[in-house]
């Protein structure tokens, strides 16, 4: 076969390592690629800083997000209130931290949860095939016909008053569909791969084959999706909260803060800039992390693959 240059190079890469005593696992290769990726470091650093801030900040910062300072209404950023205050005297710094906490928790729960659902549903549909697959595929199409934002807006009255845990579940329920489709098509092509057939002919039952061979091979997709999913969930939650359908008072989220700062954005920019800036930084870092992971795990993958 006409061996493409990339293959020659890859074989070289591996052969030169195989001649060394230590075996090189895939994990080492992936880590090596990650190390060389500026997106990984930048994204990872920013994300780490934000998470630390959200974790430790409220413990160290003297002012609570519910405290109102009647002597400092509508003040621009100052030493006492680094992010300024709003009309009701709330300290924006504390509010942003609190909103960040809530948004992060929601994201970190709902994102991986959605990935889990996608992995299970997608691999079952892809592996079993037949009627089960068709039904699941049709069901996924159904859920995708309407934009999830819309449906969540409609459903949200049902959950009012149930707290933001319910919101988290809701977000997870509407985030898994696209990844499930990807997992499904990956599973279908994996199913035809010889090592899966080999496993069947060895005598493994369906469940064993799926857990032993299919899931680990789509694991990389799942990891990438979980990372990007956190960002997607946070984005969705922020939008919902902005319009009043998400996190409810007295809780705050970055979305509600942005909504509060909306009307005054031009005259009192600190009310808008800090929550918005934090949100953008968070989403950007997650996006960079996810993309760098994808490049490291599967350097040949394109967005339209699978």
């Amino acid at each position: 076969m006409t061996v493409p240059i990339e293959e020659i190079v890859q074989v070289e890469e591996l052969e030169s390592k195989a001649s060394v005593a230590r075996p090189v696992s895939r994990r080492t290769l992936i880590w090596r690629r990650l190390k060389g990726s500026p997106q990984f470091w930048f994204g990872g650093l920013v994300f780490a800083v934000i998470v630390l801030w959200a974790l430790l900040g409220p413990l160290l910062w003297p002012i609570s997000y519910l405290e109102r300072d009647y002597s400092a209404l509508n003040q621009a950023p100052s030493l006492g209130h680094p992010f300024g205050t709003d009309t009701l005297g709330y300290d924006i710094f504390a509010r942003v931290m609190r909103g960040l906490q809530i948004s992060l928790i929601i994201g970190l729960i709902a994102g991986p949860l959605a990935t889990l659902i996608a992995g299970i549903v997608g691999s079952i549909a892809g592996y079993i095939g037949g009627v089960t697959d068709k039904v699941i595929a049709w069901f996924i199409d159904l859920l995708l016909v309407l934009p999830s934002f819309f449906i969540m807006v409609i459903i949200s009255p049902l959950f009012k008053g149930a707290g933001w845990m319910a919101l988290t579940l809701l977000l997870a329920v509407f985030a898994w569909m696209i990844m499930a489709q990807v997992i499904r098509s990956q599973t279908r092509s994996l199913r035809e791969r010889e090592f899966v057939k080999a496993a069947r002919y060895m005598g493994f039952g369906s469940w064993s084959v799926v857990t032993r061979h299919i899931v680990p091979n789509v694991a990389s997709l799942l990891i990438i999706d979980a990372t990007l999913g956190v960002g997607a969930v946070i984005l969705a939650e922020t939008s919902l909260s902005f319009f009043g359908f998400g996190v409810q008072a007295p809780d705050v989220s970055l979305g509600t803060l942005i909504a509060d700062g909306n009307t005054a954005a031009a005259t009192r920019p600190w009310l808008f800039a800090f929550p918005a800036g934090t949100l953008v930084a968070l989403l950007l870092s997650l996006s960079l992390l996810g993309d760098s992971l994808r490049d490291a795990i599967d350097p040949t993958s394109g967005v339209n693959r699978g």
Partner: protein, 705 residues
């Protein structure tokens, strides 16, 4: 033709003594980030004269494709190219993209290996041919170009060319697509056609056709051809001269008869002795070449082949040999310090690469005679459906349509045929161990239809499978120790026992047992296939089913795996069902053979009987098409060539399925032909074999093997 404004050297009226193409000291290096560069081609020089047919032979990584892409100027930008490539006196490396574009497609043409990916899927074939025409002749109108495209399709033998010109590449079969590629290449009467592994992806009867088309194209245009391949038989049959490449360098060049008869470089010697030859196969063992080619990024000092060369002496590890003329014949050169000794006979070729001995009688397993697998009238049909939401049945693919065979202990049965004949489906049906759609499967006298799930699982330990693609057959995420032990996990063998068995198996297949915790990607193709075999042997099966086990491997590696399989058969008394399309490999290892066509067995019997005296026209064609790596024989043998394409297995055909392509059918009178059209022939005994043909006694086709 070429633009005379370009260059003071006047092309076209070449001095017949000046070679058409002169490659001088060509080196191609690919830089790598943070690693030493890959030196894919190192100081290669060769000439091609007008009208000459040069065969460039080598295995993967030898640099044969890269050097040819360099001639065309189609390497990626990152490649560093040094040396000179003089085409009709002009150095192609001095020319820019625009100037080169004028020469490409008009004077210099290339045919790629995989025509499906080489043709743009969204344009019709006719348009793509016309494009080549219009690029070099601005005055050609669209209609004229389209008409010429249809003509070209006719020249390359595509039936119904007007309609086909309006079709898209995916609607063509592999052979047809390659013909279209040839049409594109010859559209502007090139002086040199480079064919980069043009038939590697094709079935053997189609390969024979395409090579004929290539020869015809050469005849019509008077062009020289540079054929790049790994198949020595193809080179033997068609090339005037041959150049052998190894690790980026030319190691032997010469007249084809000279090189095949008396090679002077150990790699060539070894290669020729490791290739299965359908005439001599079965009578002697193949010579394996141990090890594998060196990494092009970390070439050792001295001769790159020294590590694998049994004849290496100290100087071989120090200084890389230059091309010398060992026989005094100016045309024949070899790069070996001991070339003179080899050529003169002082160093016997049989001594450098001796044939491994057959296993002594004492080690052979004793087996009885009762059949271990009996398949009777097996049928497997697939419904052909259309439609995304509401599927409806538009036809049936009769992949396996009434196949019967018996496998005896300690014997190897080969199923041969081309794509779509149903051989792979047959063995997969067998491996399912469930009641087939129709027919009966008996394994060790048990009818698989009557098995319970537990019995089936137990039976699986007796019949295991080895797949074709060693990379795909093994889960890349598991270390090979676990890969090999997997079947044992199903049968609930405890861990300690499993580990011990893994060590045993690794030794049995010739791998180092300490490598059990390494990952599949760290091994070469041949080693991975051995891992697959080890896995299949882990449960001590009685039957081994192999699906094209060596076709994905390099030629020199195949020999080692084939020898291993023969040893295993002898030592363990294994029975094997072996699916393959390479007849020489089959002859080497099989005891019995069944030839399949469109879901039927058309001829079966002991291998010597079937291969020495093929009686079915299809078998005869297959034998004709299999290239023999011996130039004298290959060029003088009688052949039976098939016309047309492999039919689609979904087609419904009355009577004998082969008659559309049958060369015998064409020679028969009307009454005889009517019988072929009305009645599907049954397998009947003729001489030592079973043949499914009505007119065996009237078969006057002559085939020499």
């Amino acid at each position: 033709m070429a633009d005379t404004l370009l260059d003071p050297v006047i092309p076209g009226i070449a001095d017949p003594r000046t070679p058409l193409l002169q490659v001088k000291n060509l080196s191609v290096t690919f830089p790598q980030r943070g690693r030493p560069p890959v030196r894919a081609v190192r100081d290669v020089s060769y000439d091609i004269h007008e009208g000459e047919f040069l065969g460039i032979v080598g295995e993967s990584g030898s640099g044969k494709s890269v050097s040819s892409l360099a001639v065309m100027g189609l390497l990626p930008d990152t490649a560093k190219i040094e040396g000179e490539i003089l085409f009709r006196g002009r150095n192609l490396l001095d020319l820019g993209d625009r100037q080169l574009s004028r020469i490409r497609g008009s004077e210099l043409a290339i045919i790629f290996q995989d025509p499906l990916s080489a043709l743009t899927p969204v344009y019709t074939v006719g348009d793509q041919i016309a494009e080549g025409l219009q690029l070099h002749d601005r005055r050609l109108s669209k209609q004229a170009a389209a008409a010429r495209a249809v003509e070209l399709l006719k020249v390359v033998g595509i039936p119904d060319p007007e309609r086909r010109a309006r079709a898209f590449p995916h609607e063509f079969s592999g052979g047809m697509r390659q013909r279209a590629m040839i049409a594109i290449a010859i559209a502007n009467n090139p002086r040199l056609i480079i064919a980069d592994e043009p038939t590697t992806a094709l079935d053997v009867t189609i390969q024979a056709q395409i090579l004929e088309v290539l020869q015809e194209a050469k005849r019509i245009t008077g062009a020289a051809v540079s054929l790049i391949t790994h198949d020595l038989g193809v080179v033997a049959g068609h090339a005037d001269r041959v150049a052998v490449m190894y690790a980026g360098k030319l190691v032997e060049v010469g007249d084809v008869e000279q090189v095949f008869r008396a090679p002077a470089m150990p790699y060539t010697v070894g290669l020729l002795r490791s290739v299965p030859n359908i005439r001599t196969a079965g009578t002697q063992r193949l010579v394996p070449l141990e090890g594998r080619p060196p990494s092009l990024a970390a070439l050792p000092k001295g001769c790159p082949f020294a590590a694998r060369c049994p004849a290496a002496i100290d100087i071989c590890h120090e200084i890389e040999p230059e091309l010398v003329h060992p026989t005094g014949v100016a045309d024949h050169s070899a790069a070996c310090h001991r070339a003179g000794e080899i050529a003169s006979g002082m160093l016997d070729r049989a001594e450098i690469f001796p044939r491994p001995p057959v296993l002594p009688q004492t080690e052979l397993a004793v087996t009885d005679d009762a059949p271990i697998v009996t398949v009777t009238d097996l049928k497997r049909h697939f419904p052909l459906t259309k439609g995304a939401v509401f599927r409806r049945r538009v036809g049936t693919v009769r992949a396996v349509d009434g196949v019967s065979f018996t496998l005896r202990p300690g014997r190897v049965l080969a199923l041969v045929g081309e794509s779509g004949c149903g051989k792979t489906t047959t063995i997969l049906e067998l491996m399912e161990l469930t009641k087939p759609q129709s027919g009966q499967i008996l394994v060790e006298d048990k009818d698989v239809a009557t098995l319970s799930a537990g019995q089936r699982r137990a039976l699986r330990s007796d019949i295991q499978i080895v797949f074709q693609d060693p990379a795909a057959a093994v889960d890349p995420r598991l270390p090979i120790g676990e890969v090999i032990a997997e079947p044992l996990i199903v049968h609930k063998v405890p861990k300690a026992e499993r580990d011990a068995r893994v060590q045993e198996l690794l030794e049995l297949v010739g791998l180092d047992p300490s490598m059990a915790d390494r990952y599949p990607h760290e091994f070469s193709g041949g080693q991975r296939q051995r891992i697959g075999i080890a896995r299949a042997l882990s449960t001590n099966p009685k039957v081994l089913v192999l699906d094209e086990p060596v076709s994905a491997l390099d030629v020199s590696i195949q020999a080692g795996v084939i020898n291993l399989l023969q040893d295993l058969r002898d030592r363990l008394g294994l029975s094997m069902i072996f699916v393959a399309h390479d007849l020489a490999v089959v002859r080497q290892i099989a005891d019995d053979v069944a030839v399949m066509y469109l879901g039927h067995i058309v001829e079966s019997g002991p291998i010597a009987e079937v291969f020495d005296t093929p009686r079915h026209p299809y078998t005869q064609a297959l034998m004709s098409a299999a290239p023999i790596p011996d130039p004298v024989i290959e060029r003088t043998r009688d052949r039976v060539l098939l016309e047309g394409d492999l039919p689609s297995p979904a087609a419904q055909i009355e009577g004998c399925r082969f008659r559309a392509r049958c060369p015998l059918y064409r020679l028969l009178d009307e009454t005889a032909q009517q019988r072929c059209a009305a009645e599907d022939p049954a397998l009947l005994r003729h001489g030592g074999a079973d043949v499914a043909c009505h007119h065996v006694d009237r078969n006057t086709l002559h085939v020499t093997v």
